[in-house]
């Protein structure tokens, strides 16, 4: 019998044209001709953050994911070129407000390295405590989002409950729950009382106790393991090739942590372990961060017990910040050149490059490369070949936070 060819006209759905897809028209047509299916996930979707993922699926298997970022691009790099050096401090922490101390730290360290400011020991320890508190907070935040993405609402509530303690600790130390803007060139804005430090010390134990509940109900939950294990695997080679950063890189077996590779602040004076895993799957990425939380708690405790007395801001700048803020910091001018610092923010390597022309008191160019932006490529690659339902699980396991990536 003769085979009859049937030409079925394939028309991509019309609404795709009105949704401003950044992908070319041919791609859409090609998808429909090959009997694939385009699904737009986000930005108004219960399982997406502030971004859109264009997912091409064949059956239930993801063929390719094209990211459409920029829904939270707030023109940070341009704004930083138009502000005084000191005015950029609140600005640079806005990409990830739950991780504000680490973002501040990166920017401030770039200024300090340019101006050769020696930071007093006490300020270094205070900064380390803040950075680690923010790291715990961010990891808990990501764990909560991961939990809600795979449908576990209790797993969402517990970390946010614990985060309240972190917020309270930050509020007691700095005066703000999230955006502390507390780290300034040369030290911190205010000294922290002994009473507050004791409170934070006790809180670390309270957090640990509550984390045990969280571990039983979510971390070791069989459904969590089923959803995350062997899902979105990035091998060591792939992770390196796509430039994945932070805990996600360590989950693939690379021992890279800026705190060890290029130590800063008080990280050399406390003992802690670098957490790694070999599997490189979603569950390893999650577990690495869970273990990092307990390492961070240890760092905070050590910092508080061995907190040195002394100044909280360098004598190269001023004696007392209160009242002098504008006079002492308003007119910082960096020597000409380019200054790059690497910081281990909660989600990975954070890079600040400041280019100064040596005359202006505004930076010539500030380049902010956030961890989210760096591991986006690896995130997209790890989705290939997985099921549609895994999209959210992998998304959560990466803790992708679009405001951080888009800046």
């Amino acid at each position: 019998m003769e085979e009859i060819k049937i030409e079925v006209p394939v028309e991509p759905p019309k609404e795709l044209e009105t949704l401003f897809l950044p992908i070319p028209k041919d791609y859409v047509e090609d998808t429909y001709r090959k009997d694939d299916f385009l699904i737009l996930v986000g930005p108004q979707h219960p399982g997406s953050g502030h971004m859109r993922l264009i997912v091409r699926v064949k059956g239930d298997i993801i063929q390719e994911v094209i990211p459409d970022p920029g829904y939270v691009h707030r023109s940070m790099e341009k704004l930083a070129e138009n502000r005084l050096y000191i005015q950029n401090i609140p600005l640079v922490e806005r990409p990830a407000i739950m991780d504000s101390a680490n973002f501040n730290l990166g920017y401030v360290r770039a200024i300090e390295s340019a101006m050769d400011i020696e930071v007093p020991e006490r300020a270094k320890f205070l900064r380390t405590i803040l950075a680690e508190l923010c790291r715990i907070g961010t990891h808990l935040y990501d764990a909560a989002i991961l939990a809600v993405f795979i449908g576990h609402t209790t797993g969402f509530m517990y970390p946010f409950g614990i985060r309240e303690l972190i917020c309270e600790a930050l509020a007691r130390m700095t005066g703000a729950r999230f955006t502390s803007s507390f780290i300034i060139p040369g030290g911190v804005r205010r000294d922290v009382e002994e009473k507050t430090l004791r409170w934070v010390y006790d809180a670390t134990f309270a957090i640990e106790k509550r984390l045990k509940s969280f571990e039983r109900i979510f971390i070791k939950n069989p459904t969590t393991i089923a959803r995350l294990r062997d899902v979105g695997v990035l091998s060591k080679e792939e992770a390196i090739r796509f430039g994945v950063v932070g805990p996600f890189l360590r989950a693939s077996g690379v021992e890279y942590d800026t705190r060890i590779v290029e130590p800063y602040e008080a990280y050399e004076e406390v003992t802690w372990d670098i957490v790694t895993a070999d599997e490189g799957d979603g569950y390893a990425r999650f577990l690495v961060r869970v273990n990092e939380v307990s390492q961070s708690l240890g760092i905070i405790r050590q910092c508080i017990t061995s907190m040195p007395e002394g100044r909280y801001v360098s004598e190269q700048i001023c004696d007392d910040v209160k009242g002098n803020f504008f006079d002492k910091f308003g007119n910082l001018v960096l020597p000409a050149g380019e200054y790059t610092t690497l910081t281990e923010a909660a989600r990975g390597t954070l890079l600040f490059t400041i280019v100064s022309d040596g005359e202006s008191n505004v930076p010539y160019r500030v380049r902010i490369v956030t961890p989210g932006w760096l591991y986006l490529r690896g995130f997209m690659e790890s989705l290939k070949g997985e099921r549609l339902a895994d999209l959210q699980a992998i998304y959560g396991s990466f803790g992708y936070f679009p405001p951080e990536a888009d800046r």
Partner: protein, 365 residues
């Protein structure tokens, strides 16, 4: 002429009426008033009482208000928080579901441009038919809608109709996520229906009949859950799957496919489709209680008379559902392929074992 019809009806109603000593004086008083008496008689007419009052529609509505609130409250309790409260503080926010329901009722119901308009609107209402039909066959002591020895089989058959309406809802929505949700629903449908039916058949073998009365009577000493614990387990798990509750909330999966088939529904229509799963849960739990927990066997208070059995059945059902509600705060969602694998391997194997136990025990008893 009308008098005659009324008298005949009255006779029919009175001949098969619920005997409740507690409210007998009130009934007697109302019987003297013309026209009201026919209404009272109708309500007390056993088939009508079973279908419309208890365990039928009236308590179903009550149950809906209760379970939505209770589930949220229990979940909140486990999650270190309070749950609905300020709407009515003295009763711990118990009318929260009413507020939500009223809000849905008065909200605009949007039928979007791409939907298949007639089906989109009709299907949520049509979906009630397979929900209501099994109620007619579920007996509670003397109160029964349609008495038949094949009641259990019929209930199972009608339950199997519900997913079809959900798939149709997804089709009529004409949305990507609704489409994916419908496909998932269809896959799940096959996956849970087989072990579910086998588990029920095993119990039918065990009791030797599809008649709920026989089943309940045989459980007067030992409940079915102990007689056939594996069928009990399989039934429980398939019930979670059939009513798409966590960890098997796969067709609706709001974080993955945004409520799947129901993504485009709004206002009153969404209110209707949202309670669909709860209603299915209610019916399945009624069946569950009859098959495994001794049905209406339980307390007997003289003044309640015929009301004892429906009340007992209803209380057992609500208690079971309240315990099941805890699962929501315990588990994450499994993936579709995992669920299918579990149900086509483990669940079917278990249900076969249950069938074996049922056959053997049925032969011994």
């Amino acid at each position: 002429m009308i008098d005659e019809i009324l008298a005949t009806l009255m006779n029919v109603f009175r001949s098969n009426s619920m005997q409740i000593p507690l409210i007998q004086p009130i009934v007697d008083y109302l019987m003297q008033i013309p026209l009201i008496n026919i209404l009272v008689a109708l309500i007390l007419w056993r088939p009508f009482f079973a279908v419309v009052i208890m365990p039928g529609l009236a308590v179903l509505l009550l149950y809906l208000l209760y379970i939505v609130w209770f589930e949220r409250k229990l979940t909140a309790r486990i999650q270190w928080r309070v749950g609905p409260l300020e709407v009515a503080r003295p009763i711990r926010g118990a009318i929260q579901a009413l507020a939500d329901g009223l809000r849905y009722f008065f909200q605009e119901a949007i039928v979007h441009r791409d939907a298949h308009r007639p089906y989109f609107v009709q299907l949520p209402i049509l979906a009630f038919i397979p929900i209501l039909l099994p109620i007619a066959f579920i007996p509670a002591g003397n109160a029964v809608g349609i008495k038949t020895p094949y009641a259990i089989q019929l209930i199972v058959a009608f339950l199997a109709l519900i997913p079809i309406t959900i798939i149709a809802i997804g089709w009529a929505s004409n949305n990507r996520f609704a489409f994916v949700g419908s496909v998932r629903e269809a896959l799940m449908y096959v996956a849970y229906e087989i072990p579910f039916i086998i588990a029920v058949i095993s119990m039918i073998y065990l009791y030797g009949s599809g008649d709920p009365y026989v089943a309940v009577e045989k459980q007067s000493l030992v409940p079915g859950a102990i007689l056939n614990p594996i069928a009990f387990l399989v039934f429980l798990i398939t019930m979670l799957m059939a009513t798409s509750r966590l960890p098997f909330e796969i067709p609706e999966a709001d974080q993955e496919i945004a409520f799947g088939p129901f993504v485009e529904y709004s206002g009153m229509l969404f209110g209707l489709v949202m309670v669909l799963a709860y209603e299915k849960l209610y019916i399945m739990t009624l069946l569950f209680v009859i098959l495994f927990l001794g049905g209406w066997n339980g307390f007997y208070f003289e003044p309640l008379g015929d009301l004892n059995a429906p009340l007992c059945l209803f209380i057992k059902t609500v208690v079971v559902i309240s315990i099941i509600a805890i699962v929501r705060s315990m588990y994450a969602r499994y993936r579709i392929d995992q669920t299918l694998r579990y149900s086509f391997s483990w669940l079917i194997a278990f249900s076969m074992v249950a069938l074996g136990i049922g056959v053997v025990l049925g032969w011994i008893l």
